[in-house]
């Protein structure tokens, strides 16, 4: 499995990560190696095995529909760089 420099740039963009051209090359190589290593698993016969959605042998963990106290607004917005009238203020979106 080979990951191209273009794949790395695409994924970096989707994740809003700024990477240099040099880094793109390094990551392309490293990610390709990691994926090739994982390919080893494909050698196993799994046609009769249910796909695993979660590593814990657990299902159906629920809570009851009960309202509890939310955070105080000052507390909730404490780490917000900019606020206005109780809202989180964010830069221009598009």
């Amino acid at each position: 499995m080979s990951i191209s420099r273009k794949d790395v740039e695409h994924v970096a963009l989707l994740s809003r990560l700024e990477i240099s051209e040099k880094e793109a090359g390094v990551y392309a190589k490293q990610l390709s190696e990691i994926l090739s290593y994982m390919e080893k698993i494909n050698e196993l016969e799994t046609s009769n095995i249910e796909p695993t959605a979660h590593v814990l042998p657990l299902n159906n963990v629920f809570r009851e529909d009960k309202v509890e106290q939310s955070l105080a607004r000052e507390e909730a917005l404490k780490n917000t760089p900019d606020t206005e009238q109780g809202h989180v203020k964010v830069p221009k979106i598009v």
Partner: protein, 478 residues
């Protein structure tokens, strides 16, 4: 060329649980901005989501009412995208193992029944609300975010592209809303955003089996907007094809003010969501016994109720449909009929003045300032000729305006019908005296003259005289 539209709808409905889907914050609409939030719905490090049992039950209930198959195994996935309405930068949704699949609902249009298939129904969390500091998102210098809605449980219901006209799409949404309201899983208030709808639309030469390139329409905030946006978009695509152009697959937004659909800038779209299983939630294994219990507990659905109104009260199909599309309207109707025993009278008033007064205030039946008991009281007064229909309209308007009861309004404004001969006779005699010429005309055989005289009496009594009695008293004297 003769084109046919192909439409599929994606509907999001907020479930009316008390608390959010993965945390205990309230789902209450409104509230001061950013006061219904906690570490879980904000996605703060170290916090863990736990599924609200009732959200799963409501989603199963909705899915069963929509004739879906409930999946034995289901799970949640992360849908990754960067947009400030999501504090976590991902939305917990369902990807390849949705809760329910393969359903349908039936729409009725022009006397024909059509089945619209439902591809899937899945659960997800709602996002926050953005206010743009400018005329539109692209002209805004900044945006403000309120995360109160973040984490409110949503069901997304995806239809097959089985609809072929804006009217069919509208009928589907009407029916879907009615079913979700009847099953009491959602309030479905479009004006509060608890019901939202996107549409996929393409056109193809009539009779062709192949699908054309589709566009996705967003931002339609009412039933009317959905219909208008689809009409516009079908027209636009038809023009493009007729001029030998090509349709571009894109997301377009409905501009209510201009009445057009416009392409959204590609930056606003995220095609690559990189879904993966949500590691913080364990999978769902749906208990078949519980599913059957929920199925057995399903209430009467809108179509069955409509049939009942037609059979029990001999109402016309159209009236029965209008009265049953909203569960609250159907219940309002039932309680008024119980009190008055006159389904036709109740139906006429509910579909006429009552609906008009609600609409002019942008209200739903459940917000009506006039409770069914008061409405029934008013209708009984009309039925027993205590007041005329015309006065009744004025009283109802006053009831909407002031929230007062019919009796109080009629008493305070002296609106009772005059059915007392002693009061009417002097007025009638005066009218006969003043209109000697008309009286003569009538005696010469001009029947219409009587109507004029009745009118004069009504005018003198400000419409309060009992018209039947006036007629009788006039005839006695002619």
């Amino acid at each position: 060329m003769n084109f046919e539209a192909v439409i599929g709808l994606e509907v999001h409905a907020e479930l009316k649980t008390k608390s959010k889907i993965f945390c205990s914050c309230t789902t209450r609409f409104g509230g001061e901005p950013n006061t219904h939030i906690c570490p879980v719905c904000l996605g703060l490090p170290g916090s863990l989501p736990v599924i609200n049992r009732r959200a799963i039950e409501y989603a199963i209930k909705a899915a069963l009412a929509l004739n879906c198959k409930i999946a034995p195994h289901s799970k949640f996935d992360r849908k990754n995208y960067y947009y400030p309405d999501l504090p976590k930068n991902y939305q917990i949704s369902q990807y390849d193992l949705p809760l329910a699949l393969d359903g349908y609902l039936e729409i009725e249009l022009n006397g024909k029944t059509k089945r619209v298939r439902i591809t899937r129904l899945h659960l997800e969390e709602d996002a926050g609300k953005l206010i743009h500091g400018g005329a539109s998102i692209s002209r805004a210098d900044y945006s403000l975010v309120d995360y109160n809605r973040t984490g409110v449980p949503l069901i997304e219901i995806v239809s097959e592209p089985d609809m072929n006209s804006p009217e069919e799409a509208r009928a589907y949404l009407d029916q879907l809303k009615a079913i979700l309201q009847y099953t009491e899983v959602s309030d479905c208030k479009m004006q509060e955003g608890s019901l939202r709808c996107d549409a996929n639309v393409s056109i193809r030469p009539r009779g062709s089996a192949e699908l054309g390139t589709k566009t996705e329409l967003k931002n339609m905030n009412s039933f009317k907007a959905l219909q208008k946006a689809l009409e516009y978009e079908i027209e636009r695509q038809t023009e493009v094809l007729e001029e030998n152009g090509t349709i571009i697959q894109e997301t377009r937004t409905w501009d209510e003010r201009e009445g057009v659909t416009l392409p959204l800038r590609s930056k606003e779209e995220a095609h690559d969501y990189r879904y993966f299983p949500e590691p913080d939630l364990v999978p769902l294994s749906i208990d078949r016994k519980r599913v059957e219990e929920i199925r057995a507990g399903l209430p009467e659905l809108p179509q069955a109720r409509k049939k009942r109104l037609i059979e029990d009260f001999k109402l016309p199909e159209y009236d029965a449909k209008v009265l049953t599309l909203s569960k609250h309207m159907a219940e309002y109707f039932d309680s008024c009929v119980k009190e008055t025993g006159d389904a036709k009278l109740v139906s006429n008033w509910l579909m006429g003045d009552f609906s008009r007064l609600l609409n002019s205030r942008g209200m739903e039946v459940e917000d009506s300032p006039v409770p069914p008991k008061e409405m029934a009281f008013l209708l009984k007064l009309i039925k027993t000729n205590k007041i005329s229909g015309k006065i009744g309209k004025k009283v109802l308007e006053e009831m909407f305006e002031t929230g007062k009861g019919a009796q109080t309004i009629i008493r305070d404004k002296g609106m009772e019908q005059i059915s007392d001969e002693k009061t009417l006779i002097p007025i009638i005699e005066k009218v006969l005296e003043v209109n000697a010429k008309t009286v003569e005309d009538y005696r010469k055989g001009k029947e219409r003259a009587l109507g004029f005289l009745v009118g004069q009496v009504m005018k003198k009594t400000k419409g309060k005289a009992n018209p039947e009695l006036v007629n009788k008293l006039l005839k006695d004297r002619l």
